[in-house]
Amino acid sequence: MSTLHTVNKSPFERSSLASCLAHVAQGDAVLLIEDGVTGARRGSSFAEALHAKSPVCAIYILAPDLAARGMKAEDVIEGAKFVDYGGFVDLVAEKTRVVAWL
């Protein structure tokens, strides 16, 4: 009965990722897509806040969006998992509901 949260905006530009992380429940998953992937950048000012949530909920990154922005797997915080669009679909199917933090 858990939730998939999608975030498509950079946390350096908008508050949507911060708001999302403040509303996740134990066992939820957060999927970063589009400009949202920038929030997972290792060493960024947001990395710690995101990493701190990993005991509560899994952090996923849409790999094609990461590549578009010139980033590689080793550029993001430890513990984040990668999915392609098919994996995105699987995540939606596994969870009970999807919340888009627009």
């Binding site: 350096f12 530009e13 400009d35 960024s44 000012s45 094609p64 590549a67 578009a68 922005r69």
Partner: protein, 138 residues
């Protein structure tokens, strides 16, 4: 009616990441057209705008056009001043090594290849803004 100066200083302020929205691409389209007008042109990259210059952008998976090579071609259009803000890079876990090399050939110096990217801190960026006449924001 006020006099028009023969030449104006144009500054393009880029504050958004590429691909999530079209502003980076359509900013570049203005820069390319604007280069024909013989004005002084500078580009500023701050906040998420620094992501526009990331090396190694690969849009195959998202099915969108990769326009990042265009930045490198701007030197040929006399667009040679890319002001990039240090604090914006640092906040995003980036350094100038993560950016693509952008250069131009200096015809006054035996066509030596010189870097277009000028790293500035926030206070210097404020001065860059104040030194221009027309500011286009993207």
């Amino acid at each position: 009616m006020s006099e028009q100066p023969s030449k104006k200083k144009f500054l393009y302020i880029n504050r958004k990441a590429p691909y999530g929205t079209i502003y980076a691409l359509e900013s570049l389209e203005v820069v390319l057209i604007g280069a024909a007008f013989e004005q002084e042109v500078s580009l500023a990259f701050l906040d998420d705008g620094v992501f526009q210059l990331m090396e190694g952008q690969d849009t195959t998976g998202v099915g969108m056009k990769n326009f990042s090579k265009t930045y490198r071609a701007l030197g040929d259009y006399e667009v040679r001043k890319f002001y990039v803000e240090k604090e914006s890079l640092a906040e995003r876990g980036l350094s100038v090594e993560n950016l693509m090399p952008v250069t131009y050939e200096d015809e006054d110096d035996d066509y030596a290849e010189k870097p277009s990217i000028i790293l500035v801190d926030r206070a210097e960026m404020a001065k860059v803004i104040a030194a221009n006449d027309v500011i286009l924001s993207f």
